[in-house]
Every structure is written in C-alpha cells, then in structure tokens.
Homo-oligomer: 352 residues x 4
C-alpha cells in the first residue's frame, strides 16, 4: 500500500485526489492537509465524504508528513511547494506538485509570468514535467514531478504529434480554450459566484494567461528547439470560462505545412497515441465534447483539415479535475511506484 | 461472472446500468438491447463509452436474450416487460424490471394510474418489490424484482421508519419532491429541451403523479394496513423539475404523534438504518443536498422537529439514476446472486 | 420627475432597482449608494450598465441623500435602515426599505428571529407593509414602506384569498419554497460559488428561516386574528436553493375546510385578484413555472384540489428580484407618488 | 402605428420579435403566424405571454397577411421566404427575412452551403443585407431586408473596421465562436435536450458551418474585393454550443499588418462605431461577457494586441435573440419606416 499525503486536500483538485485514492486499490491516504480547515472533520468540508472519510484535516507540516507518507501531493497555490521542499523531505517521500512551481525550466520565465521569486531553483533541473504520455520514463525515475496544468495538458496533448512530426507551422498555433468553473478553485471570490458565472461565457487572461509559457515550452521541445537558450514557439492562448462544473475543451488552429494531408495528421496521432489507454483519437467527423469525458481520465481528440484555408483544426477535451489535475497526479504516482499506469483510473465517464 | 442483458440500454437508466456493470467485478454485459438503435454501435449512441464498449445494439428479443444471460434488466417504458415475460424466460434468467409493471400489487390501482391493461397479472404475486433495505430476504429469493421508482425510493426510505414505528400520522404526510432532468428520460420532447428546463423550476403531475400509489402502498405495509383489501395511507406527492442533470430531493412533512421527540425520531432511523451501507443518516442540523450523493448509490437523510407546529420535516436525497434506478438494480442483482450487496457499488460521490 | 436615491445599489436587488428606474418614464436616479464601491464607477461594478450609467457610487449618507431625493430605497442588510432613519430624513424624502427592519410589527418577534436590537421602534407603527395588492391605500399615504421579502410576497399572495375567505385551515399550511440563487445576494461566500450551487438542490433554514414570521403575521391579519396580542397562524416554511439565477416558486399545501370546492377556491382568487395587473391566475390544469415570469413583475398562481386527501395545493411564482424586491419597490413608489401602479413596470417576461 | 405580421412567431426568434414589438411604441402585431400551432392560443405556446397576447396562431398565408400588414417578419427555416415572396406581396408590405434566403448574393454559394435550390433569385439583387451599422441607407430604402445571422452579426461587426482599414491580414482571420442554446431553435431534437447540453461544451459544424460564407462575403466587401467575381476572404469559423440560454461570444484572431499599433486599432473602431447606439467599444483591458448584454440589443467589443505574436485578439458579444435576430430585425424595421433606430430597443441588459 502506497501511503499518500495531500497538502491542500480541501481545494477542488485536492478533493478529487481524495476521491480517486479512496477508490485506488494500492494506495491509502494518511494525511488530509488543509491550512484553512485544520482540525475540522474532512467530511464536514466535503459532505460527499460523510462515512467515507473519518479523518480530521491536518496542517501543512510537510516534514512531519514526510515521516508518514511515501508520496506527497501538493495541491496548493504557486510558491508553497517550492518554499517547503527540502532534501530531508525528498529523502523520505516523493513529491507530486500540482502547482506551477516546477513546471517551467526557466526561472526568468516563471518569475515573469507568476510575479513570484522562485524559492527552490536547485530542484528545477531534477523535477520532471509530469505529462505521462510524453515523459513516461523520466517520471518513473523522478523524486519530484511537476504535474501539468489543466489547460496545458489539453493543449499539449492535442498538438504534440503535429509539432513533433513537423506537420504544422508552430508559430501559427492558436489555442482557444474553454473551461468549467472548478478550474477557478474553491475560494470565495465574487467572480466565481453562481450568478456571475451562470448564463454567461467570458474570455479572461487574454494574451496574458500563465499557462501560455508552459504550453510553449513543451511544444518547443517537441519542435526540437533550444528552448533554454531562448528559442521558443510562440502561441496565442485564450481561455474562456464556461458555466459548467468540469471540463476543458481546447480548439486549436494551425497552418499546415505545404501538402500535408488529413491522413498524415491521423498517422501522426496514431504513431504517438495508438497505445495510450487514456487518449482516445476520435473517428473522422467526430469532435470531442466535455460531457463524454466527465469524471474520467480520458483525453478525447478529434480534428479536421480545412482545405479552403490550409489549416488543421484539432480539438482536445478532458476533465480538468481528473486528467487535468488529480487523475494525472495519480497516473504519475502509479508510474513512480511501478504500478500499471491506469491502476485505480479505469473510470467510466459519467453521463449525463 | 454474472451474464447480464439490458433491454433499453440506450435510455439514461439503461446507460447507467452499463456504466455500473462495466465497473462491476462479478458481472459482464452480454446484450445491449435498444429498439431505437438496433445494429448501431453502442458507443456511437453514448460516446463516453468509446473504446470501452465495442458492441452493437441488439433488439428486444427477450427469449433469445434469456438463452445467453443470467439476469435481464428491463429499462423500458411501462407495459413492455409485462408483455414479454414468460415462464420460458424465467426458467433461464432472472428479471429486474425498472418499469412500474410489477411494482403495484393491485391491478386496479395499476390500471387506473397507468391507463394500461396489465399483461402479466399472473406474475404480480411472485414479483418482489426491490427496495433492498426493506425487502432484502425476499429479493434474494426472487425471480422477478420490480425495481422501485426514483421518487418512490427517496420518499419511502425517508419515511419508512417513522411510519413503521408509528411516530407520525400517516395521513398527514406531504412529500414535496424535486428531481433533476435525467428522470424525464432521453426522448426528444419539447418540454425537455435545454432552453425549456434551464433557469426554471416547475411542479408537474400535481396530485396525479404515478409514483403516488407506489409510495402509498409501501407506506401502508409499513403502517400495518390491509392494503390489498382497500386500506391505504393517502399522501400528497408533488414532483418538481429542477435544472440539473441528476438528483432527487424529497422534503417530507408529517404531524408527529403526541409527545414524540426528536430523539425518538432519530432512534427510529437508527433502528432500521444504522447497519445500512447505502443510507447515511446525517447529524443533527445537517440536511441532504443532491450534490453530495451524485454518482453514488447513497441515500442521505436529515430531519428536524418543529415544536412550533408539531411536525417533523425530514428530507431524503439520492442520485435518481443510481440509487433511484441503475444502482438499486445492481444492488438487487447482487442480492439475487448472493454477492455482497455493495459489490461494484462503493462509488464515491463525484463533486463538484 | 421623481428623484430617487438608492442605498445599496450594488447588491442584486439594488442593481435591479437601477435597471427598472432607468426604464421608468417618471423617475430618475440621483444617488447610486454603495458602501463597498464608493467613488468607483457604477458601470465598472455592473458592466451591463456601461454607457447607460455614468455616475460614480456614493456613500451611505442618508441625510445628504434626503436633500436631493424624493424617495430613498434602502436595499441593505437588516438593521441599516433602522439605524439611519430619522425625522429629518422623513421630512424630506419617503423611504422604501427592502430590508426586514419594518416588516414585523412586533419588536419581540423581530429581535428573536433576526437576533438584532431594533433601532427605530418609534417608526414601527407608522411603517406600512408594502404588499401593494393588499395594502394599497395605506401605502399611498405612507412615509415609510417596508418592502416585503421575496419568499413572503410569493407565499402571502398565493395563500391570502384562501385564508381571508376561511376556505382552509390556517394551521395546516405548509409552504415548500424554491428560490434562484440571486436571492442569496452578491457577497463572496463559499456556499454561493458556482460549483457549490450548480447541479444541486438543497433545503436551508429548515423550520428557522426568517421569512416565516413575516408570512405568519400577514396571514394572521387575513385570518382576522389578534396578532399583536399573541394570536398567530403557525406554518411550516422550507426554502430550497435552486441552480438558476432568478425565480421563486412556492408550493403551498393546506387542508380544506369541510366541503370547500375547487370552484369556491377559484372564486376567492378572482374576488381579490381579478383586477390586479400583476397577478395572473392560471387556468385550471396550469401551474406556474418561474421561466414564465422572469424579468417581469408578475405573480402567477395556479392550484388544484386533491379530493383524495382533502387538501388544496396552490402554487405561486415570481421573479425574486422584480416582484420579490425591486419591482415591488417601484410599484410601491408609484403608489406613494400617485402614479398608475404599473408605470414603468409593464415588463414582458423574458424567455428563454 | 406600424402593422406587423410574423411568420414563424412560435420559434425562439419569432417569440422574441413578439416580446420586442409588445414593448414598441410605434408598432402592433396583427398576425401571429405559426404553421405548427395554427388556431391555438399563442399564450398557450408561450405562457409568459398569458394576459399579454390574446390572439390565436395564424397560418402561413403570406398573401392574406400582406393585406393586413405594413411589414412581415419571416422567422422561418431557410427556403420558406424565398418560396413565398412575390411582387403582389411586396407591393403591399415590406419583408424582413430572418432566414438565410437573401443574405448571400451568389446563388452558387447559397446552393452549395445550404443544399437548397434558390426559389427567388430575381430578388437577390434587390434584397439588402440588414446589418444596420454598415448598410443603414440601403436598408432605409429597401423592400426586402435579409436579416443577418447571429454568429455573423457578431463576427462581422467585430472585424469590420479592422478589415476596412486594412489593419489586419484578412486571410489570417480565425473566428472561434460560442453560442447559447436558443440559437439551436425550439424543435424537439435529442442533441438539444437539457441533459445533452448541460455541463458540456462542444464544437460543431467545424469548417462547414453555413454562417462561414456570409461572414466571408461581408468581409470581402469591406476589404474591397470583387466578391461577385470570385474574390473572397477565406476564414476559419468554429461555433461551439454553451450550456446557457442566450448569448454569442466571438473570439477573433488575425495577424496585424506590419507596424499596426493598438492605438490604430482603437481609432479604427472609433471611426466606425463611436456614434453607434448599439455598439459599445470597451475600455482597454476589458473584454465582453455575454451576461452584460443579455436581453438587450447591444454589441460589446473589446480587444488586445499581442506583441509577442503580432496578432490582434478581438472579441465581440451580443444576445443572439436580440441583436443576433429579433432586435436587429426591429432595428431594420425602424430604419425602413423612418423611425429613430433605437425606438423600442433601449433595453437595459438583464443581470443576473
């Protein structure tokens, strides 16, 4: 049994880790960390857990936690994990960080987009970007995994084979993304009130959203660029808030390289994803809808080639709390502990 | 492995049986019946099942199905199961009927409320009302189980101990119920369009809804009445349509018998439910909310005594597609095949 | 032109007063009060008002406001209006208070249910309960009008003729009410977040909601009781939160007095409401749905008699922000200033 | 008083024309046409109109209607208006057609995208594209106005000044649009059921949606191209379905011509729109959200320049049933009858 601790277990992503681990055959939760609810019953914070979780919320003491746990999930705001991680902790427990602290390899990029000083630069090189389908081997050997963001998982997985196989012009990429509201977290902010979100759609972070450099970095690697020395794909990424609880849909546009056919696009996807349990490449004419992945760890991808404009329109969808956060974190845990990657994650999407 | 066939597998309740059985360790689906989609790929009808279900939809041939299956779920409109059931079928397979055909013991009541002639009166006596927490032993021995309705499961389980223990006046019972829209089924009707349901709440079937006699019959048994000879509890039951996918909440009112205290009410609930896995009696001051049971087989119950008016207000909530339909059907299957009752049903509620 | 000031113009009810007065031919807004947003552009708080409102938010200085305004709307938390009102103010401007401060005639009842000391007991007798259809004449002559609550408007108007005409047993009344989320106000509280409200229905304030005594008081008057000396109708009132922006539906149950027929019920409604512009008594077989009144000042009422149980089930619906708050406030203003009651309020419900 | 008839008055767009004309000071409705509901009470189809509309639904007899009306709105499927229009009708009444029949000047384009033979080619040249802000003078003189589509109104108005002023490369335009569900109409189709739409977002008509050539044609005119002889802007247009009733948001991307600054973009918008009542150019840093225009005839536009990628991202939002259909139709009527353009249309957006 893997002993797991969760820092930030009362946010939506943390609570989803709880849901998944409760149904995981090889893991148990030993620490329900929550700075806001320390000493309160976890099931009083999330009443769906009544009778299923008897524990009280614990504090943020990661050193104490490392004594008890094999793996620590940090589902906390940016900066927290970097400020707490230490060799003492890493000598005892692996860390899967759901914040952005270890996702970007370039400190200058992190500090520019996040307006934070990075407190653990020494672990940046060691940390592995936890996109299982792409970095599987490195993840298996890692002590620190930087769990990707929800928008970024969708965007990168949707575009990766096309960039890798040089079928599209990477500088023509536009990602127009739409997210359910759980991505905004569980803090009590006016813009997230029911009446503010319901019956509306809005863009936000236009040209400035922090997931932009994360997508660019990973696609730059795929494109074979020397990212650390300043080469980079540059994209437009526009997130939108949708009145639904869960789900991300990324509609991606790119100019095809001359003569690239729909078949070549399909071949590229199949080359990289045909053996992937969690990536479902849809048949011609079908496009993802977030309802078909809700509650599951699947990423659905569908595309078409528009010969009139010479572009590919490729669309990816996933559940932002599962494959976009907690599910991917558990998938990373499985890899890090040598379990089959889909252990505890063969979740059938819930519909309606 | 229990071999299961589903007639009506492309309705919402049928599809939920599919979801549950795919995750059930002791059952497999051998027949995806669907009159509307015969010969089409099941996963083209429910794209959440892409890669998870490869089968095509089959017809309604229950006799052929009985050759292959140990258990048949009929998730079909009223009248179909009664018109098809036969000794030949029952000699080979057990039937769990999700329609109302075998729920009401009195043919006159059935024919009055459903405006249908009953085609299988000979099985009425044999059929067992499949409310597991109340009829567990009879279900285990049954060939035909009448799976209760969604509103009725909520209402009966919420009121049963109070009626059984004679703590309330049964003729004072009022059930004001609210349901998500999946209860209306997947047929293309104007009143179920998104724009008709969204941003509104409405009552329907006021004083005429067909679940009324089903609740009355079961509560009459609990009250010790001679129901088959005309004695009956009479209640008011008012369902409402709520703009959400899943969930039923039943707010029940009843006059307390003289001197009955809150503690006696709680004791009654504990007497009947303290060992029930799927019934969660909430602590004082807490009331059910449908979000806390979504996707699970739980029934949450909370209550208060209003000393000003001498009434108890007791509230039950469940997921209409799980404990209100498919989950209860699988629970019945487990009982009928000697499995632990919660096999495949330890679903953690999905939130948000 | 009536000059109107609004204290609390940035809450949902206050903003709805703004929307209505902007379209009112005989009124203009001279003061957009908002403690939280003082000195900010009103249209930066409510961007629907961009280009329509150029003013900045003002503070709570009701004395300064009284110098400029003919009428002051206080759309503020309980206690504020009572703490500010004075003879100096009332000598210059009329007050329409949307809080509960002047709704209850009995100070002990107010202080018990609201847990507040009443700061302006001297005006309690003078203040008129602003339910236009019932207190029209007194409102026309009033200096202070206590604008009724949203739940109470629905409940009282739905039940009033039946109590007044003694067709039902007032102590058998049960009001099961359902409200959209705008009723919870615009403050940033966790329970009102989109993901907490969406896809769920919940009861709250069970047997303890503050609108209970307000309904009881008004129904007691209708019943001819000596309310101020302790006589009172006692009811059960249970509000529920529904995942929609606007709308209240009250499903009311009561035991019919012996022999009362459906026709007598209808006659009673027609006696009191047939000339009312804003009350629409539905035809037999039709029940209210909140979507049919959204954005308008209408109250829809429909009912049925259940001969099996001897009860009437009568249902009322309105838009909580219009007839349940701002629309009724403007209707009161019209009465107080001698305008036709529906001036500026002939709003066609918006659907879908 | 303008006498108006509506063919197709029981669709969502037709019903919105009813709502707007009921509140219009210079128009009255003389014909509530509805093939599906002929002879039924209009208010039984739309119960929000109870007491407001007493008329019964009429048939599609446009010749009889022309005898009674000054203007005919056809809110019907493609092909109907073209099959009925005649000189006899046009000699008596003006026509505002909300279908696509007269929107596209090239018959070959119409027949290719709509798979319909055009039945009234002789009126194509005469018909005026009814985008008031662009074709104001021609509309005022027209007998037939082709009321633009909802997606197209949003897209064209958002992009027009930038194309007209040659600030962007028209062949780089990508329009990623999101629509509420009322745009799908009121017909009883499975994909429009509440449970199918709710809690999901999906793209549809990817690279094939019929509004594409309409946007291309109008932008080609703006670009000064010889569209009728085969020159054309080519764009990518991807609509998405959002779980909300009303609203369209179009997120548009285009490559800036060399050296174009944010200021030049703003100047272009101001040049064309600063005097437009219904177009609200948002201040720097603000982007449209559909909630801020709901129920009104406003188009909100906001933009930013991304210097990293050399693109402008410009976003437009409107209410698809108002400015995207019925409101624009009434605006056209006002122009055609010499009324101030915003007569009856000074609707304050409804929020929340």
């Amino acid at each position: 049994m893997i002993k797991a601790g969760i820092i930030g277990s009362t946010g939506y992503a943390g609570a989803e880790i709880v849901r998944l681990l409760l149904q995981h055959p090889e893991a148990e939760i030993v620490w329900y960390g929550s700075r806001s609810y320390t000493d309160q019953n976890y099931a009083d914070v999330y009443r769906n857990m009544f009778r299923l979780v008897d524990e009280k919320c614990m504090n943020d003491n990661m050193e104490a936690l490392a004594e008890q746990a094999d793996v620590i999930f940090t589902a906390t705001p940016q900066g927290l994990c970097a400020s707490l991680v230490s060799e003492a902790i890493l000598s005892k427990a692996k860390i899967i960080d759901l914040s952005a602290d270890f996702r970007l390899k370039r400190v200058d990029v992190y500090e520019k987009w996040y307006k934070l000083e990075h407190k653990a630069v020494q672990y940046l090189e060691e940390a592995v970007y936890g996109l299982c389908e792409i970095n599987r081997d490195a993840i298996a050997a890692a002590r620190i995994v930087a769990n990707p963001g929800c928008y970024t998982t969708t965007s990168i997985l949707t575009l990766y084979p096309l960039v890798k196989e040089k079928l599209i012009d990477p500088d023509s990429i536009i990602v127009d993304a739409k997210s359910g509201t759980s991505g905004a977290g569980r803090s009590a902010k006016l813009p997230n009130l029911f009446c503010e979100v319901n019956e509306s759609i809005k863009p936000y972070g236009v040209a400035t959203h922090r997931h932009t450099p994360e997508i660019e970095e990973q696609l730059s690697y795929a494109a074979g660029m020397d990212y650390r020395n300043g080469e980079s794909v540059l994209i437009n990424f526009t997130p939108h808030l949708v009145p639904m609880n869960r789900g991300i849909l990324a509609t991606c546009y790119a100019n095809l390289k001359d003569g690239v056919s729909e078949e070549e696009i399909r071949n590229a996807y199949e080359k990289y994803y045909s053996d992937e349990y969690f990536i479902r490449l849809l048949e011609k004419g079908n496009f993802p809808e977030t309802r078909w992945v809700e509650g599951s760890n699947f990423v659905d991808i569908g595309f078409t080639v528009d010969e009139r404009t010479g572009r590919v329109i490729t669309v990816g969808a996933l559940d932002n709390l599962v494959k976009g956060a907690a599910g991917q974190a558990v998938q990373n845990m499985n890899l890090m502990f040598g379990l089959p990657e889909n252990t505890g994650l063969k979740l059938v999407p819930l519909f309606p």
